[in-house]
Structure formats: structure tokens, C-alpha cells
């Protein structure tokens, strides 16, 4: 089994070596469970997130390359946005390529003096000059160039940054396979600070299995569930964007910087409308039958010549529609798709970008910032043309104000004013759910300050449907248990969309033929342990739970479950960390 091999790469010395960490993988499965340990080991306490001391860990898991939908790569690093734990996940071909090139994890440290990219083919590392690629306007072009130059078509991942990463925008992302992203918390800026333009990985090896017969049996069951039951249908048909309408109906769709929680033109940017009028192709991550990646085909005429068009394929998801649609009051689907394409081209996290622009608009409306600050731009709800320009400005940073915006919404507001409506939680920009207190509690306490940490938004919606009002204790316990279990999924690197298939019992079954014997109870215990490790790391790097405060705005705009109570929220946060018992 090759999973236990960890590849270390030092960019400063241009050196790489391999260590056998099999024990770590048998104790902690893989993915986030292993990566948090490697990060703790390698990252000097208090390291500058944009200095050579920062460390990037990529890790995959024991089911990768064996079962469907275990194809996520977990990236851990120190976040330049929040100053503590950076964690983001991406699919595409990345996880399978890492495993089949021969590794369970890759640790990248140091920094290069001049731009480089890494090529890792069948386990061998090559340092390639990237000075020519540095400064190229579009991350898509970078992918295209590398595609032509490197081997491994079909079994490779091409992770790369755009201009935003080079320019150290704190929420720059790393793009992989054109449409998947290590989106949140600024991995792109960490790449940029290391002068690392891209990482190409290819591999096609086979994996030995302890018990091939039962492996195939479990495989067939998972495959049946994924393709012949209703479990995955919503991701497959309309995709995550099918959430737009229902969230709007219950009034939980953040709109115009959450001044409101429903958007009168939501039907224009709904998943149904996009599917009907723009959906051009659906694609899948490696080893995933679902194919949730929806690409819109946007046809635009050239202005200088009649009957001359270009067609751009643009990937869309619920979160992008929220951030670059309703949050900005943009209802023209084509305008919204152009904004999505722009963040793709420049390599920025779409959620953070949208939240930053929404704050900028409100601050401008209120006269907190002026035309001098915005370099003449007049942001206005719904005016996507202005937003298109503003996105470029965040990358180019022509004024101090745009430099502030590039630091994230919390920083920009702390300097310019308007903190009450700067929608950040623990330093990370808000995801697209104003469903009730559990969602916001999850954003605050989740180790990544992401909606996916503990999925409070989904609890809120269930409570709404059933008309229940559980105690604070119950909600806190639920969130901790959900976030703990998700650490197991992220250690196996199973896609969260497949969580309905990979229930605890199924995970136990799937691990057996591979050589792991962990029962459900042991798995749950390990999940909680990993969650504690992550939070301990946060605290080690300066995170203080007592200072956690949501923006005032969330108390002002009612949720489907009514106004969020400030006192109860404070109590819940306190209780969360008490129960987590770090």
C-alpha cells in the first residue's frame, strides 16, 4: 500500500524526499486527519502565512482510487485571510492523481526566488521554470499551456493560480481542472507568496486490496446507491443551484449584503432557469458517477464583426449564484455568469469576492467611502458591469482602498468603517445561508468558518419544516457531532455530497477489504479527536473563541426562524467551546 508514503518538497532548496508515514495513516486514516498532524509538525508556531515558513499539505485517503466519490484532496495551510487554520477541499482529478502517482500526502514548504511550477509524474518531482507564466492574464491560459507541455492527459491534475494569487489577494483560490477549486481561505495567495504558479501531478498505478472479492461486493453496493437510488439525484439533475428557489421562498437567501433575505428576481438566477437556458455540459470529478459540475454556455457576440461569436463555458453552483447574484442584486443571468467567469479567470474565491463587493456597495451607498476610494467606480446593486471592473481593481489594487479590499471584508471594514454590515465570521466571508441561528452558529464555530463545517443551515431548515425549537444545548451538541463526523469524511476524502451513502455503517464496511478494522464508535471518536486537533491548532496560531462576534447585520434581518437572538448566540458560542473541551 502506497498510501503511507509522504512526499516532501522544499521550494527554497529545490529538493524533495519521501518518508514512510504508514503509522500515521493507520491511526488517522488520511485526508484532514493526517494533514493536521503534518501541518502541526512542519509549521513553526506564529509563522507568517505569506512567508517561506508557511507549509502546504495536500492529503488523500484510504478509499481514494478504490471507491466512487472518495476523490477530494484536502489542503491545509496557514490562512492569510484569518491568520489561523487554512483548510480547503477540491476534487477534479487531484486526489486520484496524488494517490496513483504514489503518495498519501504531499508537503510543500519554503519559497522559490523566481516563479516555478512543480511537475510530479509517477512519483518523480521536477522543478520547472514558470517565469513566462507569471503575469499571464488568465488562469485558464495557464492551464492550457501546461496541458500542452506536460504528459499524463486523462490522469493528471493541473492546480494553478491566477493573477489574484500572484498579487496576494488574501482570498485568492487555486484552480484545478478548470472548474474545481481550493476556494476558501486563501491558498492561492500562499502559492503566490511561494512563487509557485502551478502543480501538475499524474499517475496511473494500481492499488493492492486485502480482500478483492468483498471489495468488489461493497463497490457494487455503493455504485447502486449512487446511480439507482434518489440519494444523489438533486446534485445530478439541476445541481446545487436548485437551492436558490427554496431558500428564497423561505426568506433565507442573503440579498444585497443581507439587507434582505429574499430576492424579488430570484427566478432569473435560479438553477431551473440556468439549466433551461444556459446549461451546456455536465462533467464529473474522477471516479464520480454523479457529475454535479454544471457548465453554462455563454454566447457573446464580438462587437467589431457581425456573425462572430465566442462561447465560454462557465461553471456555476449555488454559492456562486448567492455571492455574485443575490448578494449584489444582480438578476441578469448573463451578467452574473460574466462575473463568475471573471473570478475564474483571475483565480479568486467567489464567495469572498461577492461579500467584499456587497459590503463595498453598501458602504458607498452610506457615504462611508468616496469616489476617491473607489477610483471613480460607482457601485450600485444589480450593475454587474461596475462589479466586473471592481473585481479587476481588487487584483490590480490601484488605490489603498482596493488594497484593503484585497485583505478581506473584515480588514477593509475595520479600517474604513461599516463593520456592522461587513459579513465575516472569524475573518472568513459569509456563505449563502440566512436560515436561522444554527447556520450562523456554524459559521462562527466551524473550524473553517464555512457552511460545510457543521451544516447548521440544513438543521435550521429541518427545524422550520417540523416547527421545532430545540434548546441551545441540543443545537450545540448536534453541530459538534455533525462537524466531528465530517472530519471522518474529510479524512477518507469522501465528497460531502455523498454523505448520504457513506453513512457510518457503510464506511466501516468499505474500509474492511482495504485492511482497516474500525467500528462506528471508533470512527466517531476519531472524528471528534481530529476536530479538537484542528481547533487546538487554531488557538496555537492566535485564534480566540472569546473574541468571536458575528456582524450586527445578522441580528437585524429576520431569518425564516425569526430574529436571531444576540444573547442566545453568545451563550451558544460559549457552550460550543466548553463542550468541545480543547
Amino acid at each position: 500500500m502506497t498510501l503511507g508514503k509522504v512526499l516532501y518538497i522544499d521550494l527554497s532548496k529545490r529538493r524533495s524526499w519521501v518518508e514512510d508515514r504508514s503509522e500515521l495513516f493507520s491511526d488517522r486514516l488520511g485526508g484532514v486527519g493526517v494533514a493536521i498532524k503534518l501541518l502541526e509538525e512542519e509549521l513553526p508556531k506564529g509563522a507568517d502565512p505569506l512567508g517561506p515558513d508557511n507549509v502546504i499539505v495536500f492529503a488523500v485517503g484510504p478509499l481514494t482510487g478504490l471507491y466512487p466519490m472518495a476523490s477530494k484532496t484536502v489542503a491545509l495551510f496557514k490562512s492569510p485571510l484569518t491568520g489561523n487554520l487554512g483548510e480547503s477541499h477540491a476534487g477534479g482529478r487531484s486526489a486520484v492523481a496524488i494517490r496513483l502517482t504514489g503518495y498519501g500526502a504531499i508537503v510543500i514548504k519554503g519559497a522559490s526566488e523566481s516563479p516555478i511550477y512543480l511537475a510530479i509524474h509517477n512519483g518523480r518531482v521536477f522543478f520547472r521554470d514558470a517565469s513566462g507564466l507569471w503575469g499571464v492574464g488568465s488562469s485558464l491560459t495557464v492551464g492550457r499551456v501546461i496541458r500542452e507541455r506536460e504528459p499524463g492527459a486523462g490522469v493528471r491534475t493541473i492546480m494553478r493560480i491566477g493573477r489574484a494569487g500572484e498579487r496576494l489577494v488574501r482570498y485568492a483560490c487555486v484552480n484545478t481542472e478548470t472548474y474545481r477549486h481550493f476556494g476558501r481561505l486563501g491558498l492561492g495567495a500562499v502559492f503566490g507568496s511561494k512563487k509557485l504558479k502551478a502543480v501538475v501531478i499524474s499517475g496511473k498505478s494500481s492499488i493492492n486490496v486485502k480482500d478483492p472479492a468483498s471489495y468488489r461486493k461493497v463497490y457494487d453496493r455503493i455504485y447502486e446507491m449512487a446511480t439507482k437510488t434518489a440519494l444523489m439525484r438533486k446534485y445530478h439533475d439541476i445541481g446545487t443551484s436548485m437551492n436558490v428557489q427554496p431558500l428564497n421562498t423561505i426568506r433565507g437567501l442573503p440579498t444585497r449584503n443581507l439587507k434582505e433575505a429574499s430576492f424579488e428576481e430570484a427566478h432569473m438566477i435560479s438553477g431551473e432557469n440556468l439549466a433551461e437556458n444556459y446549461l451546456g455540459r455536465r462533467v464529473a470529478c474522477s471516479h464520480c458517477p454523479v457529475a454535479c459540475i454544471h457548465l453554462a454556455a455563454l454566447r457573446e457576440p464580438y462587437e467589431d464583426e457581425p456573425y462572430f461569436y465566442k462561447t465560454t463555458m462557465i461553471s456555476y453552483d449555488y454559492e456562486l449564484i448567492y455571492a455574485l447574484g443575490s448578494m449584489l442584486g444582480v438578476s441578469d443571468p448573463e451578467g452574473m455568469l460574466r462575473l463568475m467567469n471573471e473570478v475564474e479567470v483571475l483565480g479568486m474565491d467567489a464567495i469572498s469576492t461577492g461579500v467584499v463587493l456587497a459590503w463595498m456597495t453598501e458602504a458607498y451607498e452610506r457615504g462611508v467611502i468616496s469616489d476617491d476610494d473607489t477610483a471613480g467606480l460607482k457601485p450600485r446593486w444589480g450593475d454587474w458591469r461596475v462589479y466586473l471592473k471592481a473585481i479587476r481593481m481588487i487584483v490590480e489594487q490601484p488605490t489603498e482602498f482596493y488594497r484593503d479590499l484585497a485583505m478581506g471584508v473584515a480588514y477593509a471594514a475595520s479600517k474604513n468603517g461599516g463593520e456592522d454590515y461587513a459579513l465575516a465570521f472569524g475573518g472568513n466571508e459569509m456563505p449563502g445561508y440566512h436560515t436561522g441561528p444554527a447556520a450562523h452558529l456554524g459559521f462562527l464555530t466551524g473550524a473553517r468558518h464555512s457552511h460545510l463545517d457543521s451544516a447548521g443551515y440544513s438543521l435550521d431548515q429541518r427545524l422550520l419544516k417540523k416547527g421545532l425549537k430545540p434548546s441551545v444545548e441540543k443545537v450545540v451538541d448536534y453541530l459538534i457531532s455533525e462537524e466531528s463526523w465530517r472530519q471522518i469524511l474529510s479524512s477518507l476524502v469522501v465528497c460531502y455530497f455523498a454523505r448520504g451513502i457513506y453513512r457510518p455503517e457503510m464506511v466501516e464496511e468499505a474500509l474492511k477489504p482495504v485492511g482497516y478494522s474500525l467500528d462506528v464508535e471508533a470512527l466517531r471518536k476519531l472524528g471528534l479527536e481530529i476536530l479538537r486537533d484542528k481547533n487546538r491548532f487554531k488557538v496555537r496560531e492566535g485564534f480566540n473563541p472569546e473574541k468571536l462576534k458575528p456582524p450586527k447585520r445578522i441580528y437585524e434581518t429576520p431569518t425564516p426562524l425569526g430574529h436571531v437572538d444576540e444573547k442566545l448566540m453568545e451563550e451558544a458560542v460559549k457552550l460550543f467551546y466548553e463542550r468541545l473541551a480543547l
Partner: protein, 137 residues
């Protein structure tokens, strides 16, 4: 005589690039990963432009067989080839000779990977791209 079958591509525009067919082919032999896959899927020029599926089409007069210096590849009745591993010396001539690039290489054993026309992969294509059909002369 039993009919000779082969994997055929019904409509590669339906392919989402999930590679489940590739995984199936290696799993057929009891392994995970892709080391023994005789079918390959790659994008035609970036994910945005769709995918190409490459698999042996069972030529009636197979060019791959003609260049095999040891007789390890023989013509299967009805079209396509059979590989006798004991005779194969790992020269790789067949890989170059196949006009479709449908013979792959396993560096772990240093031998070619040739489709055996079992049809296992077809059952794992969730999007009706593949079919298992009779080779028509």
C-alpha cells in the same frame, strides 16, 4: 462459434469524464486504481470541450498483431486480438502500431494492456456512453 463482441462508443458527447469505466477495468482484476485499465478517457482539449473515450475496436485485420515479433498477439476469431503474456517480451511495438492508441502500458509489470472484450466496464458507465456489441464484419 460464440459471437465476438467489443466495447463500442454510442455517443461520446454524453461522457462526463467520470472514468468509472477505467476503474472498472482494473478492478476486474482485483485491484484498485488504474494500472491495468484497457480503456482510457481524456478531455479533447480541456474539460470545457468534452471527452474522448479510447478502447480497442477489435479490428478484423489488426495492425497491432502484425508487428508483434514473438507471436504473443494473435488474431481473435471475429476481430481483435488475444495476448499471451508468456510470449510477450515487453517491446511495446503494438502500442505504437495501434492507430487508436488503444493499447496501454503498465510500467509496474512492463507489459502492454490489451482489452479482453469482457464488457465489464460497460456496466459501470452511468451515462450510457458505452455498449457491448457484436463485432460486425
Amino acid at each position: 462459434m460464440s459471437v465476438a463482441r467489443r466495447v463500442a462508443i454510442v455517443d461520446n458527447e454524453r461522457c462526463v469524464g467520470c472514468q468509472l469505466c477505467m476503474f472498472a477495468c482494473t478492478r476486474r482484476r482485483g485491484y484498485g486504481g488504474l494500472g491495468f485499465s484497457a480503456i482510457h478517457v481524456k478531455s479533447t482539449g480541456g474539460i470545457e470541450s468534452g471527452f474522448t473515450v479510447i478502447v480497442c475496436r477489435a479490428c478484423p485485420d489488426p495492425p497491432c498483431q502484425k508487428v508483434c515479433p514473438t507471436g504473443a498477439l494473435t488474431v481473435r476469431e471475429g476481430g481483435g486480438v488475444r495476448l499471451n503474456m508468456d510470449k510477450c517480451i515487453g517491446c511495446g511495438y503494438c502500442v505504437d502500431a495501434c492507430p487508436f492508441g488503444a493499447i496501454f502500458w503498465n510500467p509496474e509489470v512492463n507489459k502492454p494492456i490489451v482489452c479482453v472484450y469482457c464488457g465489464y466496464c460497460v456496466d459501470f458507465c452511468p451515462h450510457k456512453v458505452l455498449t457491448f456489441e457484436e463485432v460486425k464484419p
